[in-house]
């Protein structure tokens, strides 16, 4: 097989690409300004639930595509966990072949409409763009362009459904229906397997549905992708808790040859500080699930959620941003982020932090709650915050926050949302004998994403701890290759 570098080179040398490069000098391309994503006005959008970013139109997309200089050594690709052929799809956009662009992306990424919206591009593809590394200029807006191509294809009525391979009649199953599983299922169906996805909840999509809010990722987009998988013949079973409704052993007896565990990192962490169990204090998972999955506050839906004027969210990741922006949309007067480090150390996507600031979210950085105070009914009414300062870098390379003695003060709150991280869901590891896990409770896998039990593969957050959508998808694809290899070897024997 030719190596990737040669492949990129050969593709880059194709006539259409050489032609398009000639239409504008590299130097001139680099002088173009990065386009702005059209977005709803902050003061409008913080009162509704529809998508913040409106998407690029054809003109804007083609304009941005011209900035990409089609590098001989496309470093951007090295930053993408699934190795999308970035310059190739961008050049397709430049020539106006939008469906072609979508097709290029889908060769390696089955959920581009999702990734274009939620990938931390500033840490991945865009961080490795020539503009970022060499020119210290804003990178090509790879994420926006990816989203554009995917949306264009979806709205064109000509969405390409990946072709299922010739049926081999071999049954395989995934546990969980998040992005890792969806990517795995696409490839397994392509390879010709008889694929079933089991999901514990009543809805499909994992965190894409119950976690990430519609103003960032509309549910319809996830549903359409899932429907495409159904068209490919993938079977989905909801309300099925593997390990409970049936064990892996029972599923083996039903003829499943191999399993892909993609059960996510669903266990919320709390800080274990006094008063944390007062009512009005939620984990971000509970808060977002009540609202996103269960429709709390929407007309006719039965699930309640607590509303209030003063809402504090503890944490600085995507989950924290999603929670605080949701609280603002539900009418909070003061929607606060309480984070123990500074904005630089926040793990959230940069765009979300910027959007949150525009929407009037208050950032109380270098603060940490130490205690909650409740009223007579046990409802939280104040949080006690302690100021922090940054010390030496810790193991993660981020400067360690150190409490400032005697700096405690009280802030009124009606609702507190704790978004300080999640642990791997222990349901599967604890229900399968002999499955090796790490001390963090994640499932141990080899390079083929195979666990200590040969017919069980795993990927996504259950292997990585809390990670990203695209890493989960990459795992799903690699696990599919690994599983295919395993099954074929077994048949040979």
């Amino acid at each position: 097989m030719e190596n990737l570098k040669d492949f990129y080179k050969r593709e880059r040398a194709e006539e259409w690409r050489a032609e398009i490069r000639k239409t504008l000098k590299t130097k001139e391309r680099t002088l173009l300004e990065r386009i702005q994503m059209p977005a709803q006005d902050p003061d409008v959008r913080n009162h509704n639930r529809t998508e913040v970013n409106l998407g690029l139109d054809e003109k804007l997309a083609m304009e941005e595509a011209r900035r990409c200089i089609d590098c001989p050594n496309p470093t951007c690709i090295t930053g993408c966990p699934v190795g999308i052929f970035i310059p190739k799809f961008i050049k397709k956009i430049e020539i106006g072949d939008f469906l072609g662009a979508a097709k290029v992306i889908k060769e390696t990424n089955s959920l581009p409409a999702v990734c274009g919206r939620v990938c931390p591009q500033e840490k991945q593809c865009e961080a490795n763009c020539f503009y970022t590394i060499q020119l210290q200029k804003p990178p090509v807006a790879i994420g926006f362009l990816e989203r554009f191509a995917a949306d264009y294809e979806r709205n064109s009525g000509q969405m390409a459904i990946p072709e299922a391979g010739k049926k081999n009649g071999i049954k395989v199953a995934a546990i969980g229906s998040g992005p890792a599983s969806l990517a795995w299922a696409t490839d397994m169906a392509r390879f010709g397997y008889d694929v079933t996805v089991f999901e514990a909840l009543h809805e499909l999509g994992g965190v894409l549905k119950y976690g990430i809010p519609g103003f960032r990722l509309p549910n319809e987009i996830v549903d359409i992708e899932i429907n495409n998988l159904k068209e490919m013949g993938v079977k989905f079973v909801t309300n099925f808790v593997v390990g409970r409704t049936a064990t892996i052993e029972e599923l083996r007896e039903k003829g499943f040859e191999a399993f892909f565990v993609a059960s996510g990192a669903g266990l919320p962490r709390f800080m274990n500080i006094p008063g944390e169990n007062f009512t009005g204090i939620f984990s971000s998972n509970e808060y977002l699930t009540r609202i996103n999955l269960m429709g709390a506050t929407l007309d006719g839906y039965d699930t309640p959620v607590t509303l209030g004027d003063n809402v504090a969210v503890i944490g600085g990741g995507n989950t924290a941003m999603d929670s605080v922006r949701t609280a603002k949309r539900l009418g909070a007067k003061r929607a606060m982020i309480v984070y123990r480090r500074t904005r630089e150390e926040m793990p959230a996507r940069v765009e979300e932090v910027e959007h949150a600031i525009e929407e009037g979210i208050e950032f109380m950085n270098l603060n940490n709650p130490v205690k909650y105070i409740g009223d007579n009914n046990g409802r939280v009414k104040k949080m006690v915050l302690q100021k922090m300062e940054l010390g030496e870098p810790d193991a993660s390379g981020r400067r360690r926050p150190i409490p400032v003695e005697g700096s405690e003060y009280e802030v009124d709150v009606d609702v507190v949302i704790v978004a300080v991280g999640v642990s791997p869901n222990p349901l599967i590891p604890s229900s399968v004998k002999g499955l090796k896990t790490t001390k963090w409770g994640t499932i141990k896998v080899n390079d083929d994403f195979q666990s200590s039990i040969e017919d069980i593969f795993a990927g996504g957050d259950i292997v990585r701890g809390g990670a990203t959508v695209i890493l989960a998808m990459g795992d799903g694809r690699n696990a599919a290759v690994g599983m295919d290899k395993y099954i074929k070897n077994k048949i040979k024997k």
Binding site: H202, T279, E286, P304, P426
Partner: protein
């Protein structure tokens, strides 16, 4: 899927449903519960599996109507399907021969208690059961309980059936008469709290099955969290059964009232719309 094949009212507000659910029927054990949701806009609520027939592939639920969701589920008729049931969830009851088991149920708590006494009896224990309720109409499943108990004491608040008094009176009577090795109490949180205080006084190991608020039932949200022995536990995955003497019942009672006003308002609106 999830078709209702039998429905029976035990009292005005307590109904038993027998539901087709073969996977759950095969795998459930005493102590397990399911999460039930009805309709697209419905809420997910936990209900104990009060019995099952693995051959027929059915499970029994006993539901007390207290709000919108329990009312909606209790209003379904034979032949209707419940849109979503997931389970069996939670840890199964630890069944073991210990000697004499004092089982106590308050109100609809009899339903979840039933499979446990059945298993305890089968394991060779002497089972003494105290059933308590506000009045005669609310004493449910008496015949079934008698079948799996060596002795049954019935207590009603108003004295309309059995003896007059609270569940704890019945329990104390037993404790004074014979050596009790293990006590199990299931019912409203307040009943479990007092049952627990009583057995603590006599130093009798006690298990309670906690009915906290839940959403997913798989350990994902933390809605069901309570403090046991000073540590936060998730009832849906760490329980629902716990050592009663370590449970912070006051905190649990407080957390149960987390959505009280909203729930009451929603129920009022729902009932008004019905009529």
């Amino acid at each position: 899927m999830n078709k209702i094949i039998e429905k029976k009212f035990f009292s005005e507000n307590v109904v038993k449903l027998v539901i087709e659910s073969p996977d759950i029927a095969r795998n459930r054990k005493p102590g397990h519960f399911v999460i039930v949701k009805t309709g697209k806009k419905g809420e997910r609520i936990p209900l104990t599996i009060a019995g099952a027939d693995p051959v027929k592939g059915t499970i029994n639920l006993v539901i007390q109507i207290v709000g919108v969701t329990s009312h909606k589920i209790a209003s379904l008729e034979v032949g209707d399907e419940i849109s979503d049931i997931s389970g069996p969830l939670g840890k199964a009851t630890h069944i073991e021969k210990v000697g004499t088991v004092l089982a106590a149920a308050g109100g609809v708590g009899t339903a979840p208690l039933l499979p446990i006494i059945e298993a305890m009896k089968k394991a060779g224990n002497r089972v003494v059961t105290v059933l308590a309720a506000r009045n005669k109409d609310l004493i449910i499943l008496e015949d079934e309980v008698r079948k799996h108990s060596d002795e049954v004491i019935i207590m009603t608040d108003d004295g309309s059936y059995g003896k007059q008094g609270l569940v704890t009176h019945g329990m104390e009577e037993v404790i004074k008469n014979e050596k009790v090795d293990l006590s199990i109490a299931i019912g409203p949180a307040i009943m479990m709290k007092f049952a627990s205080l009583l057995t603590k006084k006599y130093d009798i190991k006690t298990v309670v099955s906690l009915n906290t608020i839940m959403v997913d039932g798989t350990g994902m949200c933390g809605a069901c969290r309570i403090t046991v022995g000073g540590k936060t536990k998730f009832v849906c995955v760490d329980g629902p059964e716990f050592d009663a003497h370590k449970v912070d019942f006051d905190e649990m009672l407080m957390r149960l009232s987390g959505f009280k006003e909203q729930e009451a308002a929603a129920y009022k609106k729902y009932i008004a719309e019905l009529s």
